[in-house]
């Protein structure tokens, strides 16, 4: 791929959210590098996903389990199924380091997850750490900080 532009990064973040909204989870998983992580901190300005408490800290194995589970015949918490929608601010580009192959964006968002007659709103900030792998942008780390990370939530079943 030719040099990554700001536009490429913005388009990537939008496309990622759209794949989630359209429940194209396999395509979504393909956006991650094999050592990629999805992280949802459980503490304010958390720095350590291992020795501080998180809501999620998932490697590809755990993400695949989640995705596979969503369509399993005996996944009772997905009868009926959940759906979701993202509303994103324009992603801000925090870093474009071609030499280090590191690109970082920051995207405030609102997110709705619905199941049956219930509808829950969440708001937060998504930080993407991207790299070019085999000519395509991939996610090394998607970090999702919720505004109210410490609130008592019900089931959060999909991905923000």
């Amino acid at each position: 791929m030719s040099a990554v532009t700001q536009d490429d990064l913005v388009r990537f973040v939008y496309r990622e959210a759209r794949l989630l909204d359209e429940m194209e989870f396999d395509q979504w998983l393909a956006l991650f590098t094999e050592d990629g992580h999805y992280w949802m901190p459980g503490e304010w300005r958390q720095t350590d996903p291992r020795l501080q408490a998180s809501l999620m800290y998932e490697d590809m194995l755990l993400l695949r389990i989640r995705v596979e589970r969503l369509s399993n015949a005996r996944t009772f918490s997905q009868k009926p199924r959940s759906r979701c929608q993202h509303v994103l601010q324009v992603p801000q580009v925090d870093e474009m380091d071609e030499a280090a192959n590191r690109y970082r964006t920051y995207t405030p968002f609102h997110y709705v997850e619905t199941r049956g007659d219930e509808k829950e709103w969440y708001a937060g900030w998504a930080r993407h750490e991207l790299a070019v792998v085999d000519g395509a942008l991939k996610i090394r780390l998607k970090r999702v900080d919720l505004v109210n990370f410490d609130a008592p939530f019900g089931n959060i079943q999909l991905f923000m």
């Binding site: 949802m40 459980g42 503490e43 291992r50 020795l51 501080q52 408490a53 998180s54 809501l55 999620m56 800290y57 490697d59 194995l61 755990l62 695949r64 389990i65 989640r66 596979e68 589970r69 399993n72 005996r74 996944t75 009772f76 918490s77 997905q78 410490d150 609130a151 008592p152 939530f153 019900g154 089931n155 959060i156 079943q157």
Partner: protein, 451 residues
């Protein structure tokens, strides 16, 4: 209409030896009476001493629905006080935790209280000259709860000033806390990591019951643990060692025979635990260096005994569950008949390798969090139960599995791990502590009352 208030017999009638009436889960009056009686007569977990290491530190929480605060006084003692200003009722401490310095100061009119609750000062004191304030309860300051007991840094309180002693209430059940603490080479735990908080639209007792329900994992968790196992089987072909996360998930899919063999132990007053001989925590990989630390601290024989004990879930009646081998504690906080807040706490074993705490946090995240797929399985079942119990088709919930005629309530026993004995044990205790301080307004006057 009140059916249960002042009617202890009606409360007792809700519990049969092998059945529980649905009102125990869905009736708002029963819930209100639980708050007034059950949560007043039992020793309820408040917090851990490591949350308030320094004088002036405090934590706010609830016992039942009573707002309380736990504070560290200047002399090092721990106090549990009602979080209510004796002047006009304002909650004195509003944050989850903090340090108040030498005193609590009410934000409304600045009455202030020492960290043991006693009244320190009232502004413009001369306004009370010649009044009767000295005779009022208000001058005593923040009211203490009925009793406080700190056991190996676990703080319990009883709202009612009279009742069973701490030792009598818990008895041998304390051995599960002992084992969790002894797993630290220094014999010390610290509560660390933010609690996971998880809201459940169901009755709090469903969660407590589930802790010793060993017939549900392989059914309800097929979707999470089962999928984890099958995805891992595919990945494993690529080589590499079994990840910690798979070690955490996989045992939830253990077959019935495994749970039958691991056993359940019940103790008097509603306490009990699964995993007597072995448990879903028994097969985790060794943590490098840990055994050596334990042997150095306790000697080989004792170290092996401590780590050989792998209790699964210990229920401390009424509303906590402790997992010694993984160092977590879950607190089931009742909010309404159909609403419960679950707080899951993680402990670090002082002096032990970080990897143990990493596993503790991972366990909490993968099994107990609102983002946990195993948690999703369970909550779905509680929600369906809470809805289903409103059906008028049947009034009783069945807890008869492996019931034996003449089963003694309030006895210590070890039985088949798939027994519902611990659930029966809890409900016997429930009826006992619910009615312990209940006046019988329905009893015929004088001698006619049945014993």
């Amino acid at each position: 209409m009140t059916r249960y208030r002042g009617n202890p017999q009606a409360i007792r009638d809700l519990i049969r030896p092998t059945e529980v009436h649905r009102d125990v889960y869905i009736d708002p009056e029963v819930f209100q009476l639980e708050m007034e009686h059950l949560f007043a007569n039992t020793w309820v977990y408040v917090g851990h001493a490591s949350q308030i290491p320094n004088p002036g530190d405090y934590v706010t929480t609830e016992i039942g629905r009573q707002p309380v605060l736990m504070s560290r006084h200047s002399d090092g003692t721990i106090h549990v006080l009602y979080n209510r200003c004796p002047h006009k009722g304002v909650k004195v401490a509003s944050e989850a935790c903090g340090n108040t310095g030498k005193f609590f100061r009410c934000p409304y009119h600045a009455w202030s209280f020492k960290t043991d609750g006693s009244l320190l000062a009232i502004p413009l004191k001369k306004g009370y000259e010649g009044t009767h304030l000295q005779e009022k309860e208000a001058v005593k300051g923040l009211a203490p709860v009925g009793g406080v007991h700190v056991y190996r840094d676990f703080v319990f309180a009883r709202l009612n000033p009279v009742g069973q002693s701490f030792e009598e209430f818990f008895g041998d059940a304390l051995s599960s806390i002992d084992n969790m603490v002894d797993r630290s080479p220094e014999g010390k735990l610290v509560l660390e990591g933010a609690p996971s908080r998880y809201m459940h639209p169901c009755n709090w007792k469903m969660l407590v019951e589930n802790q010793t329900d060993t017939c549900h994992p392989m059914v309800a968790h097929e979707s999470s643990a089962g999928t984890a196992v099958s995805v891992w089987e595919r990945e494993a072909a690529k080589g590499g060692r079994k990840p910690m996360a798979v070690e955490v998930y996989a045992p939830f899919m253990a077959p019935y025979e495994f749970f039958e063999k691991m056993g359940i132990r019940v103790w008097p007053n509603g306490h009990g635990h699964t995993g007597v001989t072995t448990s879903i925590h028994a097969d985790y990989s060794a943590v490098p260096g840990y055994m050596d630390q334990m042997v150095a601290a306790y000697g080989e024989e004792r170290a092996k005994r401590i780590l050989g004990e792998n209790r699964h879930n210990t229920v401390y009646f009424p509303n906590i569950m402790v997992k010694g081998p993984i160092q977590t504690l879950r607190l089931f906080k009742p909010i309404a008949a159909d609403k419960t807040l679950v707080e899951s706490y993680t402990f670090r074993l002082v002096g032990a390798p970080d990897m143990l705490f990493e596993r503790t946090l991972m366990y909490n995240r993968l099994i107990n969090a609102p983002t946990s797929i195993v948690g999703h399985d369970d909550l779905e079942m509680y929600e369906r139960a809470q809805l289903g119990l409103h059906s008028d088709g049947l009034e009783w919930v069945n807890v008869e599995r492996l019931y034996e005629d003449g089963e003694e309530p309030d006895a210590t026993a070890v039985i088949n791990g798939t027994s519902e004995r611990q659930m029966r044990n809890q409900f016997q205790a429930w009826a006992k502590f619910m009615t312990m301080s209940m006046d019988d307004a329905t009893a015929p006057a004088k001698s006619g009352a049945a014993a």
